[in-house]
């Protein structure tokens, strides 16, 4: 099963191909390319997309509460968020929808026009399997299991201009998510401070020199190229001295793994390392039991999400003009609560878009209503916007992508665009 990915060994810019015929090792050229671009300020102004994946199927109806829809209250006796104005009530957005009160830190961003919500968005594939649905959303090919790479990686692979840094694609976490896997290099970093070899500086430097020397001489191939990226990344990280990039403007990140992930992504951006795609994920959204309403299990997770996103926006300040944060989740949850004061796997969900050219202050997407006749399989919020439409609009409108056909093979957006970016 060939994935049709580009050969990772050919890691050179177009103009340098001629030099290959002279017998120069492509890895040498890559290093020269890195060196040239490391001039300070060279990466400032680069557009960035941060994807935040809420794994476990977040209840979109609790994120963006349809307080104007009576079915919401008829079918969620124990877990509905009260109407605006009541104690613990939703924070009204536009008269029909409200923000979950735990997301209060995001309300000023909505009012300022930098945050938009998209409702009833999701996948055309009906699977309610977490694993399948997450893979479909990350591979960008719903319904197709054999896709070995992700939509974000395919974007990086096809948007060729900035192939001069190992930090184009960075996921915070122990493994590279499917969305960032593929031909284009991408880093999975658990902890930027600890990225590299361990040991006292003298020992560590000795080891780095040794490994680098061994791998430089190795036959070209994935192992050699990956290690080259690794050491280049380690070097640049050390030179950038990320520890020096404290949160600005008084931003206070939650102490949670998500808060720390957003803090690190902000550091990578501020250090001008050439980041284009960042990725973080949070778990804990699979609220089958005891979901809670204004307070409770789900509210606690939403508080963490809002804290991380708001701190990130504060930290970056004016640089948010170049950065879009997009939340996503594999599907939503049932309209009706279940016998355990929770919800089961559903279909349509809500996603948030923040920063950059986002035309915020609106809830986008065609709302299908919660009327039983309008539900997916009679039980779930329907999907009226294919997630690929939303993602595609952001790639084009914010990152200037030219060829969505390569990013979402087999898909052509139909119907009116959301108009999420300017």
């Amino acid at each position: 099963m060939s994935c049709g990915c580009m050969d990772r060994r050919v890691f050179v810019r177009a103009g340098a191909l001629a030099l290959l015929s002279l017998g120069l090792d492509p890895i040498f050229l890559t290093r020269a390319a890195y060196a040239a671009r490391r001039a300070p300020g060279a990466n400032a102004g680069r557009k960035v997309l941060i994807c935040v994946f809420q794994r476990g199927a977040v209840d979109g109806l609790s994120v963006i509460v349809p307080h104007g829809d009576p079915h919401y209250y008829w079918e969620r006796a124990r877990i509905a968020v009260p109407r605006p104005g009541r104690e613990g009530g939703a924070l009204d957005l536009d008269g029909h929808f409200g923000l979950h009160p735990a997301l209060a830190p995001l309300l000023p961003l909505y009012r300022a026009g930098t945050l938009a919500a998209v409702h009833a968005v999701g996948s055309p594939d009906p699977t309610r399997s977490h694993f399948d649905a997450q893979d479909y959303m990350e591979s960008g090919t719903p319904g197709r299991r054999s896709t070995p790479d992700g939509w974000l990686n395919r974007h990086l692979a096809h948007a060729a201009e900035h192939r001069d840094t190992p930090f184009r694609g960075v996921a915070i976490g122990p493994q590279l998510p499917l969305a960032l896997r593929g031909a284009a290099p991408a880093l999975a970093v658990d902890n930027l401070q600890a990225f590299g070899l361990r040991g006292r500086p003298a020992v560590r430097d000795r080891l780095e020199r040794a490994f680098e020397e061994m791998y430089q001489g190795a036959a070209t191939g994935l192992v050699a190229t990956s290690s080259e990226e690794a050491f280049e990344a380690v070097r640049q990280l050390r030179a950038a001295d990320l520890a020096g990039f404290e949160p600005s403007h008084g931003a206070l990140y939650p102490r949670s793994p998500f808060g720390q992930a957003m803090r690190q992504l902000a550091q990578v951006i501020k250090a001008d390392l050439g980041l284009e795609i960042g990725f973080a994920d949070l778990a804990g959204w699979d609220t089958h039991v005891n979901q809670g309403a204004s307070d409770g299990q789900l509210a606690a997770r939403l508080r963490d999400l809002a804290g991380g996103l708001a701190a990130f926006a504060t930290d970056l300040g004016e640089r948010m003009a170049d950065v879009v944060v997009l939340t996503m989740s594999e599907f939503g949850r049932t309209v009706a609560e279940n016998g355990n004061a929770g919800t089961d796997h559903g279909h349509g969900t809500a996603m948030l878009v923040l920063g950059g050219p986002t035309r915020g202050g609106r809830v986008l997407g065609r709302w299908p209503t919660l009327d039983p006749a309008a539900r997916f399989e009679g039980r779930d919020l329907a999907v009226t916007t294919d997630f690929r439409s939303l993602f595609g609009e952001i790639l084009v409108g914010h990152l200037g992508a030219a060829d969505l056909g390569a990013v979402f093979p087999g898909y052509s957006a139909a119907g009116t665009p959301l108009g999420v970016t300017g």
Partner: protein, 531 residues
């Protein structure tokens, strides 16, 4: 340099698939018999231990291959003793079901008491949850320990292969209870047996029936007798919505024909209809296979031109046996085996040899593997040291190379997980990948370097080894480096690697530190990442 195949043909030894003898020293090319032994050991084991290659050279490649192809003739006390000490090996599925039910209760109770806390807080404080988590760790550790300690190396390699080919996800609901039995009694006994038997065993296993949702697949409109509520534990507590295609699709796409195997969506639907009724019930020994006749689709189904009707459970068995002999299945599975043993992009000659053996023996896995190992492609120079080790292969081969042993903790399996391959925790039915591009990323490589250095320094949790047994201490740096090259890299270190190591130890005055550095750099070298 002529390829092995060209040489064999030139010498009048036709490369008849399955019949070519292993290259004897005189007939192989410039490469010595020792090199061939190294290559063979690296491919059919999890890596040589000190002395392994010498033993293979002494007994001869043919004899060694046959020894490994007949694990039942080998005593395996070290691995058996280790695994026997793990509590999970003595828990029945019913025991596990009880333990996990208790864990669920504990978690529910905690959530009710402290609804604001993040999910999964402090599992170790509750004994039920601690026990449940320990069993998952023990299952992983059993696999890693067997890979390190077993003398039945090829068997363990095949178990790893089939575990990925017939993947189940340990963390999915009931599979936490069902996976141990699946590994011990479904996968392991059939790893070198007949493919059809293995296929049927997986299809009937509660672990697979649950993982791919077939247990809840019922014919459209079917109702249980008396329309009573299903007993808890007998099937997943979800409203049955008719036919579930998940297993049918993966059976065709992943387990047998392959994505290009020539089946249609209608075939998938009909296969799903055939398997309606294949489900799970709670027995005295825990969840077991059951056939629910009431749930079975009674209509006629045509799959790949074959008609099935009025056969009940028999339809599924007939279908599985037909799939096992279908040419696309032979090609698809043979290609995967060649990818494991020869190259990420398996050469056609190797696949042809495997398929031929499959046809001749009606799918005897032992014969197919033998044909692959005897094919000229296996021995071709361009395929030697061509495979990148997976995290499991890297960690196990490193421990074996230094003559190490896993200790009594579960830490070694955790190391494999941290390098990216937590065993039995691949959520996708494709299993862990075979190809290098899944494993070669910068973060992963840095982790391997750290692991290599920690292991060499005796600081890697989960493993013990004696450095004196690997490289005798010497005040001559070159002697130490040469010894490491022999012991750990079987003499395959490149000039660059040797120079790099030499450069780093020249000014290290402490002998022990120098030796640690030499071992760590050897284990982290590019040569050691390949097999």
């Amino acid at each position: 340099m002529p390829s092995t195949r060209a040489l064999l043909i030139a010498l009048g030894i036709a490369a008849i698939p399955g019949l070519a003898a292993l290259p004897a020293p005189a007939r192989a090319q410039a490469q010595s018999s020792r090199d061939s032994a190294v290559h063979l050991v690296r491919r059919i084991t999890f890596g040589p231990r000190p002395g392994d290659v010498d033993r293979v050279v002494a007994m001869g490649l043919d004899a060694y291959l046959e020894e490994q192809l007949h694990p039942e003739r080998l005593r395996d006390t070290a691995a058996e003793h280790y695994v026997d000490r793990l509590a999970i090996m003595h828990r029945s599925t019913a025991d596990l079901a009880r333990i996990y039910a208790a864990e669920q209760q504990a978690r529910l109770a905690q959530r009710r008491m402290a609804p604001d806390s993040a999910r999964g807080a402090a599992p170790d404080r509750d004994p039920a949850r601690a026990e449940a988590r320990r069993y998952a760790g023990e299952l992983q550790q059993a696999a890693v320990a067997r890979a390190v300690l077993s003398d039945r190396q090829l068997d363990e390699v095949m178990v790893d292969f089939w575990t990925n080919h017939f993947n189940v996800f340990l963390a999915k609901g009931l599979d936490r209870v069902l996976t141990p039995d699946y590994i011990e009694r479904t996968i392991r006994p059939h790893a070198l047996g007949r493919f059809a038997d293995l296929l049927v065993a997986t299809a009937r296993s509660p672990a697979m029936l649950f993982y791919l949702d077939n247990a809840q697949s019922v014919a459209a409109g079917a109702r249980p007798p008396g329309a009573a509520r299903r007993r808890p534990g007998a099937a997943p507590p979800r409203r049955s919505q008719g036919i579930n295609e998940n297993y049918a699709r993966e059976l065709l796409e992943l387990h047998t024909l392959g994505v290009d195997g020539g089946y249609t969506q209608q075939d998938v639907i009909n296969v799903a209809r055939i398997f309606t009724g294949w489900s799970i019930r709670r027995g005295p020994l825990g969840p077991v296979f059951t056939f629910n006749a009431w749930a079975h689709d009674r209509g006629t189904k045509v799959v790949l031109g074959q008609e099935y009707h009025e056969g009940g459970e028999r339809e599924g068995l007939d279908l599985l046996r037909a799939l096992a002999r279908h040419p696309p299945t032979m090609r698809h599975v043979s290609a995967k085996l060649c990818a494991r043993f020869v190259s990420d992009d398996p050469p056609d000659g190797c696949i042809d040899a495997a398929v031929h053996a499959w046809e001749q023996t009606d799918g005897d896995i032992r014969a197919v593997v033998r044909a692959i190992i005897r094919s000229p492609e296996f021995w071709a120079p361009e395929h030697r040291a061509a495979k990148l080790k997976t995290p499991l292969e890297f960690v196990v081969s490193a421990v074996r190379a230094v003559g190490g042993r896993p200790d009594t903790t579960l830490a070694l399996a955790q190391i494999v997980g941290r390098l990216g391959e937590p065993l039995y925790l691949q959520s996708a039915p494709t299993g862990y990948a075979e190809r290098a591009d899944a494993w070669a990323n910068s973060g992963a490589l840095l982790q391997r370097f750290n692991t290599a250095v920690a292991l060499a320094a005796g600081r890697l949790p989960g493993v013990q080894f004696d450095p004196d047994a690997v490289i005798p201490s010497s005040d001559d740096r070159d002697t130490m480096i040469a010894a490491a090259n022999r012991a750990i890299l079987e003499g395959t270190a490149s000039g660059t690697t040797l120079d790099a190591i030499r450069r780093q130890v020249t000014d290290v005055y402490d002998l022990a530190a120098a030796r640690t550095l030499v071992i760590g750099l050897a284990l982290g070298s590019p040569e050691f990442q390949r097999r």
